[in-house]
Symmetry: C2
Subunit: 294 residues, 2 copies
C-alpha cells in the first residue's frame, strides 16, 4: 500500500471526515459560533505556542469564577506543566503547591469551592442527545458545545479527550482551579461526577499532548528541568492578539450538527466496508475552525 | 490543593489504580503470562528506545505471517515514523511507499492479504465478556489479552488506545503490513471491521505518542527531517537483549482479571464520590509488568 493511498484512507477521528467535510462545507454561517472571550482561557507556553480553553460556566460557574480570578491576578504566569501521564492527563499549576512555605499565593481566589460542581440539575440545561447510548450514563450528548451526560435528575460534563478539569483533594474539598489538567488519552469516563470539569481545549492541545511523559509516579516530572514553563494564562478578552479571536466552534444545537453526527455514524466514502452506524460521545465532539474571511 | 494530594488522587486509567493495585499485588503467578516471542515485534527507534508489540495471530494470521516475513527480511530497518496525528494515530513504514520507482522492495512478502482479516468467526475463540455493554458492538471483552468485540457470528479486535493496525488501500485490498499504525487517542472504534488490527503495544508506546504532531494533511510530516528513524524491527525471538523477554501481561481468562475489572468498575478508595459501577472495554485493558525476580 502506498503512502498517498494512506493519506486518503485513514480518516481523522477528530474533525473532518470525508462526508462530514461535505456537511461542514455546506453549513450556513449560523451553524458556527465564536467564543465568548470572557469565558475563554489562553495559555501561552514558553515557546509561544497557544492552547485555547473554552470554559463551561453552565456547569461549574463558581469554580470558573475562581479560575478567572486567578487568571486576572496573573497567578499562572511563570508556573509550569508538572505532570504528563501517557493515555491519561497533562496537569499544570504551581509545582510547589503542596508546600505551604513555598507555594504561590492564590490572592483573592478561594482555596476550594463548596458545594462541589461535579454535576448540576438537569432542569434548565439545553442538551442535544446522541442516539446510540453510552456505557457510563443513561444518556450522552452535547450542551453548549461540550460533551455531557445526564440522568433523570442531573447533568454533567464528560471526560472526553481535550476536556479540562480541576485537580482536587479528598472530599469535600473540591479544588480551587489552581491545579488544572487536560485529558490526552482514551476518555477516563470513570472520573465523571467525581471531579469538576470546567471546559475544553478547542485549539493547540497537541502542544500539551506531545510533551515528554514524566517518569515519576503518575507521570510527574522528576526534576524541575523537565517542566515546560507557562509564559502566561490570560482571558481571551484581554488577549487581542490571540488566535482565539478567530476561532469558531460548530454549534451543537443546530441542524448542521445533527447532520455532522449522522455523517460520522455512517461514513459513506468508498473506503469503509462497514460504516459503524453508531458513535460514542467522545468521537462526536464539534469541530473548530478559523473564521473564514468575509 | 497541593501537588502531593494530586499525586494520590488522579488514579491512572491504564494500570494500577489503588484497589486494582491490591488485586494485582495479591495475584498468583499463574495470573500472569509471558509473551510468545515469535508473536512479538520489537521496534527500536534511533535513540534506542523500544516499543514492544504483541501480535494477535488468532485474529489476523495471514497478515501477521506477512509482517513476520517483512520483519525477518529487515524490511523496516532504517524506515521511519511518517505520520503523527493528534488524538488519532502514529503511522510508520516506507515514506516512499507510494512511489513505484523509489519504494523499498517487500522481498518475499505479499503486496496484500486476501481475503481480508477484519473479522473472524466467533466460533472457536476464547472470549471474556465485559458486563456493561458497548456503544459499537453487541458485546465487548477480551480475547488472549486483546480488546475485542463480537456479534452472533463474528469476532474482531477493537480500536483501543495502543492497538496496532495495517494501513490499507481501497477494498478489496487489505494491505500488506508494510504500513502500520498505532492508536494514540480516544478509541476510533468506527474503524473496527474496516481494517486489519494485528496487535497491541504492550511497552513503550509513549515513545510514539509523545512525538511531535505532523503539520501536513492527516498529520503526515512535511519534511524528511521531521521523521523519526526506525533503527530496526525484530521478532522478540531474535532480540535476546530486549525488555520483551521480561514482560508479563495479566491473563484475561483468569479470575484475577475478573477481580481487576471489578476493582476498576467500582473504585473503592476514599477519593471517589461515585464509583462509576461500569467500564468500557478500552478502559479495561490488562496491565503489563516486568517479571519479578524469583
Amino acid at each position: 500500500m502506498g503512502l498517498a493511498a494512506a493519506l486518503l484512507l485513514l480518516a481523522p477521528a477528530n474533525g473532518f471526515g470525508q462526508t462530514a467535510a461535505e456537511v461542514l462545507t455546506q453549513a450556513p454561517a449560523a451553524a458556527w459560533r465564536g467564543l465568548d472571550l470572557e469565558q475563554t482561557l489562553i495559555m501561552e507556553l514558553a515557546d509561544g505556542r497557544e492552547v485555547v480553553i473554552e470554559l463551561a460556566p453552565a456547569f461549574a460557574p463558581r469554580t470558573i469564577a475562581n479560575i478567572q480570578t486567578l487568571t486576572r491576578e496573573g497567578y499562572f504566569n511563570g508556573l509550569s506543566i508538572n505532570r504528563v501521564q501517557d493515555n491519561y492527563v497533562v496537569q499544570w499549576g504551581d509545582p510547589d503547591g503542596a508546600d505551604q512555605a513555598l507555594r504561590r499565593s492564590l490572592g483573592e481566589a478561594r482555596e476550594a469551592i463548596s458545594p462541589q460542581e461535579y454535576w448540576r440539575p438537569r432542569r434548565g440545561l439545553a442538551f442535544t442527545p446522541l442516539p446510540d447510548g453510552d456505557v457510563y450514563a443513561p444518556e450522552a450528548g452535547f450542551s453548549g458545545g461540550f460533551p455531557a451526560a445526564r440522568n433523570r435528575r442531573e447533568a454533567w460534563l464528560a471526560h472526553c479527550y481535550g476536556m479540562v478539569g480541576v485537580g482536587r483533594d479528598t472530599p469535600p474539598d473540591s479544588g480551587s482551579g489552581a491545579q488544572l489538567y487536560v485529558v490526552i488519552g482514551h476518555s477516563p469516563r470513570h472520573l465523571d461526577r467525581n471531579i469538576t470539569l470546567v471546559g475544553r481545549a478547542v485549539f493547540g492541545i497537541e502542544a500539551l499532548a506531545a510533551l515528554p511523559r514524566g517518569t515519576g509516579p503518575l507521570g510527574f516530572y522528576q526534576t524541575p528541568e523537565e517542566r515546560t514553563t507557562i509564559a502566561s494564562v490570560r482571558l481571551a478578552s484581554e488577549a487581542p492578539d490571540s488566535i482565539a479571536q478567530r476561532l469558531e466552534v460548530l454549534r451543537t444545537d443546530a441542524p448542521t450538527f445533527t447532520a455532522f453526527v449522522e455523517a460520522r455514524r455512517n461514513r459513506r466514502d468508498a473506503w469503509f466496508f462497514e460504516p459503524a452506524g453508531r458513535i460514542d460521545v467522545c468521537n462526536a465532539q464539534p469541530p473548530v475552525r478559523l473564521r473564514p474571511n468575509p
